[in-house]
């Protein structure tokens, strides 16, 4: 049916067809600017909430890393043989995960305890020193996984020692962060689904307006792929606009909530600075917008074209 057309023409023709579809889709949006802007605004609002939650979580994690509180591991050597203690000392000396450690002798500890008492004579009633020797270990990293691994290793080396670590708070903060991430995922997924459905509806109604063009094109041999191409470009345009709008809203939202958040942190004696989202955050937002826009248009056009005559 296409005499004289060469295979070499196929690629530029494909590019031209896509360019035409994109241009026509853009022009259609310019013809109905209010509706297009509403779609972009809806997508922008929907993307902003999870993006803002994400920035807060990211900052909270940075906060936990900045708190000046090193976790510690205390080994109470009640029934530990001197050889085992010596081995523990050798191990602590060589382990890179250990920042520093201190040996607290039982007698020394008792002396210190006695000094703190109002009546030092009280301890003379004791026949023997009830306090054990203690090794106080400061790990090099506050990372909960590292601290736990180190503690377990020390426990294995001295099974009779009582090992206590105070890295609980790190674990708690971490689990709160996990809860936050889960909430973000659920909220993001629900809002994303809502956005896709709204954009699918908008695409379907746009295709209803084009139904005469679609009917004529069908009769002339247009495929589904050809007919939905302008809608997909429309979805990408809406997605791009929504992503940019969400980025702007996010930056404005951060600027507005920075001062109250930092004041609240100060009330808890925390030094907290709400950082701006990085380029990768903003790029992710844009990609999320493009994906949702494309998906909404794909679903809406698939549905509308299936029902079209």
């Amino acid at each position: 049916m296409r005499p004289g057309r060469r295979v070499l023409d196929a690629v530029p023709a494909w590019v031209e067809a896509h360019r035409d579809a994109a241009r026509r889709s853009f022009q259609r949006r310019l013809q109905a600017p209010v509706l297009s802007l509403i779609s972009i605004a809806v997508l922008g609002f929907i993307l902003t909430l999870p993006a803002f939650l994400w920035v807060l979580l990211d900052n909270a994690r940075a906060l936990s890393a900045h708190i000046d509180h090193d976790p510690r591991i205390a080994l109470y050597l009640d029934d530990v043989a001197p050889e085992t203690a010596a081995e523990l000392e050798r191990h602590l000396e060589t382990d890179a995960r250990v920042e520093r450690w201190t040996w607290i002798d039982a007698d020394e500890a008792l002396e210190r305890y006695r000094e703190g008492l109002s009546d030092p004579g009280l301890l003379d009633w004791l026949d023997t020193n009830p306090l054990p020797d203690v090794i106080d270990v400061v790990p090099a990293s506050a990372d909960p996984a590292t601290v736990t691994a180190l503690r377990e290793e020390l426990e294995a080396l001295a099974p009779n020692a009582t090992v206590i670590s105070d890295d609980e708070w790190v674990r708690q903060l971490n689990s709160l962060h996990q809860v936050g991430l889960r909430i973000l995922t659920v909220v993001g997924a629900l809002l994303g689904l809502g956005a896709v459905l709204i954009l699918a509806l908008a695409t379907a109604s746009e295709l209803r307006e084009r139904r005469e063009e679609i009917a004529i094109s069908r009769i002339s041999g247009a495929t589904h792929r050809f007919l939905r191409r302008p809608s997909l470009y429309g979805g990408l345009l809406t997605g791009f606009g929504g992503g940019v709008f969400a980025g702007i809203l996010l930056l404005v939202g951060i600027a507005l909530s920075r001062a109250p958040l930092e004041q609240a942190a100060a009330a808890f004696a925390l030094e907290f600075e709400l950082g701006l989202p990085g380029a990768s955050h903003l790029l992710s937002l844009m990609l999320a917008g493009l994906f949702l826009g494309w998906l909404g248009a794909r679903l809406g056009s698939g549905h509308a074209l299936r029902d079209a005559p």
């Binding site: 049916m1 296409r2 004289g4 057309r5 023409d9 196929a10 530029p12 023709a13 494909w14 031209e16 067809a17 035409d20 005469e212 063009e213 009917a215 004529i216 094109s217 069908r218 009769i219 002339s220 041999g221 247009a222 495929t223 050809f226």
Partner: protein, 225 residues
Amino acid sequence: MIRLQRVTKRFGSASEALSNVSLRVDAGAMAFITGPSGAGKSTLLRLIAGLERPTRGRIQVNGHDLDRLSNRAIPGFRRSIGLVFQDHRLLFDRPVFDNVALPLEILAYRRPEMRKRVRAALDKVGLLHKEAVNPRTLSAGEQQRVGIARAIVHRPVLLLADEPTGNLDPALSREILQLFDDFNGVGMTALIASHDLGLVEGMGKPILHLEDGRIEARAAAGHPA
């Protein structure tokens, strides 16, 4: 080119729009279908174009058995056909040029080739000077000619026209039929439906007469088998 064997078409539970119709149109031929409105002319053309499926019977067009044509193959089949409608069905949101270019866009023609072909088609129907105007501003006869340019711009092997002169005065109608005759002269098979028997008899082409969904015996000039 076209062969129908005992084709019946029923819409829902209504009476049959076409009953047991058999006909043949050879490649390169030109034929008319006449009959009063409601006789089944449009249904017949829609069946041949693959826009409807027959309730019973077999339809072969341009080497395709339409019963066996999968949904995926239908767009390709339709690209070998040009369709002209009584109400021309032009798109008023774009100029004449873009209306005519639509089939070429679907065929992914490149711009320069597209321009050449659209201009050639518009020139053929005498509307080259109107390529930039909106079809809404054209007369009924001009709109019909734009519809014809769109139907032949991709050089289909088969041209189907459903009452193409329905809204036109006799002089314009003859002009339009002459256009179809010209296309037929360069090898395009043409099947044209019209209720105006007087008009088509003057063309000296085979005529098939439809009445109540049946081919009437008087269609002897065609190929009613």
